[in-house]
Amino acid sequence: MVLEKDIPKFVEWVGPAFFSYLLGLAVFAVVVGGVAWLVQTVLYGPMAAGDRVYHGAVGLVGDLGRVSWRRVTAMTRLAVKESLRKNVLVALGLFAVVLLFAGWFLDPSSVNPGRLYLGFILTSTNLLVCLVVLVLAAFSLPADIKAKAIQTVTTKPVRTIEIVLGRFLGFSAIGTASLLVMGLAGWAFVVRSVAHEHLLTQEDLEDVAAADGSLAGYRGRTSFRQGHRHWVELGPEGSGRTDVAQGHRHAVRARESADGKRVFEVGPPEGLLEARRPLRGRLTFRDRDGSPSAKGISVGAEWGYRQYIEGSTLAAAIWTFEGIDERDFPDGLPLEMIIRVFRTHKGDIEKGIGGSVRVRNPRTQVETAPFYFTAKEFTIDSIMIPRQVAVTSPEGGTRQVDLFDELVDRKSEAVGPADAGGGGKGRIEVVLQCLVPAQYFGVAQADFYLLAGNGSFALNYLKSCLGIWFSMLLVAAIGVTFSTFLSGPVAVLATLSVLLVGQVREFLSRWYESLVTGDATIVPGGGPIESLYRIITQVSITLELEETPAVLAMKAVDTLLVSPMRLLAAVFPSLGSLGTGEFVASGFDIPLDLIAEHSLETLGYVLPCIVLGAVFLKAREVAS
């Protein structure tokens, strides 16, 4: 899973985020007020315009204080009834069709079927729920205005904020109900789709002899199901585990059947639907001469997320993990890593690229002997660092030590005072190297972690549905807001555009970073004008442009554009960043911090949207 930024701790995030939110809101309010004043000035002259804007603002604050829940719920019920009587159930039918379709064309024998199914189900649920809500929200109010039913409503003592809020709640309720149904159906679909069993009989197995000729165990292959089979290695008593194929393995147990024969039971797939809780570290690099460097190697015009280390040199990637508690890892440190391999020559394609991992105490620099592994692409490699490890002594030779005694640094200033009981949290370094000459390992900070535990997959799925729920709320709010002053189809388009701008938010901040740092590799190709020029003249984005006056002028304009564009984009919500389907599909637990942040972010957009919608509706002659 790609995780470009660390997920900040909620308590650290909330303060600054709230401050910049208020700032943004204030700027936005001033801009809206200014535009309203300008428009009114054209119609009524500057003084009267100022008066109107002032009274509008005062009236709005008054309205906010006078909201009646009975009226709001009346509008909510109306919206729900309207949706139900206008056949939203069609959307659920559509979802059923999607499931049928998915069952037919999704390939259960793919490399990682759990990921495929989850990704598909969550994406289509998200899309359908948001689409249904968007259409309902965007078309309802314009239809009311067109049919003039709104006139009967606004001549009752109902405030525009109640109309907008009520509608928003109504469509959100419909969205929530659809999400519940789709979520449950999707869950059942995924669980059923990835579930499978293999058969294993005595005939599939051959004996494995130990050095002394006694029976060491059995070896063989399971039956072929869902496009794969597993190798199994069993102990002499007949139990063990299969190897990992398609992202999962099975446990195998032997028992005696009634007629005295030995029967093997292959358990359900493990590791397909998981919610791993990673403890992530901070990544630094050593270059090929072994000296510290901020970055690895970039292997071409690839996106800077992943850095590469060269094989068979001193180049290394080093993760520093903090907050390691003996009580959390009583059996040692389970390391998991997702490593990309970049081959400069084909080598033996079957064999995979070997690498090594060493654990090091950052203070004393005491280091374990290397653990070797072979990097498999697209799967998670795991290594268990046991409690008792061999370290190389300065005098030469190795000695066995306890991981937490010698390798975990619990004394440094950076760590803080150790617990009285001696089991305080500590710091550790893990060093990764590639062992094959002229081949490279690609690593990213998030791709190498300690498995701190496993959460419940069901809960994780629920959390992901919560992410969809946030998106749905956002879409409902924006849709309703636009529908207060635009016609239905235009409101749909406007909402989609806002969400689209939100999608490029990340990109714009990268571009900003690229300009500020002068590092053209962050966003190759420059700003909008330069990019346009490159598209027309067909100059590759990696080529430096010749510094002619025209090019310099172009770049200057781009530089001028960056700040307003970034500001604008920062104002727009990003549905992409609310989505947490990627976590679930990749089998990672969604951090609660992230959910808390997303919930506040959603609220932060929804509330002003509703107020804005109320303002628009109030400023509008609903009867003309």
Partner: protein
């Protein structure tokens, strides 16, 4: 509205509905019920409306500056041909559209203020209701908008549905209703809050003679309960039958304003009415008239009808645009 089975005139069954004893505002209303008081309920000052398009360009001058004062307990009629600005005036009073100049004041507050709606009932030109609701749900919905507690909502909804004679159809969605039925539920909706001021836009349009009659009775009944009613119509008979005062609009301009009797009284003509006079007496009457210098002596034809007045105003307005109501009529 229910026609009573006593065979006489249609009678409204509004028991315990429009008068809500015990509330202070109804006591005030009852005190004023005897006739129109001096309290001004609606006032417009220099009120005008120009419809504009998106770019702010003027599309239509729908109402030229209008000054009106409507008192509590009055039935005020807005009379005028189609497109004369009646609906525009009502919408301005309701705050549904905003004035281009001047202001509309309702219950002493600006017409765009929402809180005034607590005391207002409005029946639009056509009943603009939610077609997917049934009659009960409709009244319940609007009752909620008045923040009424459930018990009161249920009571009023039942009584109003009974009153407008939709009891049997109360569970049917409005999209199945006929025009007359839609109008009835529209009336019920407008009265859900027992309003003090009721604005009716063309209340009798599209109704059959019985429905029209019931509507007029309802209006008179509202007056009897001290309510103020402003209605618009292009149907002269309606206005003549129920209105205390009328304003005649033509192309957005006020042409006539006053009490109906005053407007229809022909001041330079004398009418004598008697029963059972022999033809000789008629001849003698003519003689007397001639003796006092009377001309064009006629018997019968006591007043002009409102229709005459209406046509005259329209004809006159076409011939001499710009004449205002304040100017004496020729």
């Amino acid at each position: 509205m229910r026609v009573s089975d006593r065979g006489g005139a249609p009678e409204l069954e509004t028991e315990g509905l429009l008068v809500n004893p015990g509330t202070e505002k109804n006591l005030v209303a009852a005190a004023n019920a005897a006739g129109s008081s001096s309290e001004i309920v609606v006032e417009t000052r220099n009120l005008s409306k120009v419809y504009r398009d998106f770019w702010g360009r003027s599309k239509k001058v729908a109402l030229k500056p209008l000054d009106l004062q409507i008192r509590r307990g009055e039935i005020f009629g807005l009379l005028g041909p189609n497109g004369s600005g009646k609906t525009t005036t009502l919408k301005l009073l309701l705050g549904l559209i905003f004035p281009s100049t001047g202001e509309a004041v309702v219950f002493g507050r600006d017409a765009t203020e929402v809180s005034k709606n607590e005391r207002i009932g409005y029946l639009p030109e056509e009943s603009y209701l939610y077609k997917f609701l049934d009659a009960e749900e409709t009244l319940d919905f609007y009752g909620r908008l008045f923040d009424m507690p459930p018990e009161e909502r249920r009571r009023r909804a039942t009584a109003l549905i009974e009153m407008v004679g939709l009891t049997r159809d109360r569970k049917r969605q409005l999209k199945e209703y006929s025009k007359g039925m839609t109008r009835r539920i529209g009336v019920a909706q407008a009265l859900i809050n027992d309003p003090e001021l009721i604005l009716l836009d063309e209340p009798t349009s599209g109704l059959d003679p019985i429905g029209t009659r019931e509507m007029k009775d309802l209006i008179l009944d509202l007056k009897a309960r001290g309510k103020t009613v402003i209605m618009s119509s292009h149907l002269l008979a309606d206005v003549e039958d129920v209105c205390d005062r009328i304003a005649v609009l033509h192309q957005g301009e006020l042409k006539e304003l006053g009490r109906v009797e005053d407007l229809l009284r022909v001041t330079d003509t004398t009418q004598v009415r008697a029963r059972g006079l022999p033809p000789a007496a008629l001849e003698e009457l003519r003689e007397v008239c001639r003796k006092f210098g009377g001309t064009e002596i006629e018997v019968g034809n006591p007043t002009i009808t409102l229709e005459d007045l209406f046509l005259e105003v329209v004809r006159d307005a076409d011939a001499r645009p710009g004449r205002r109501a304040s100017q004496p009529r020729s």
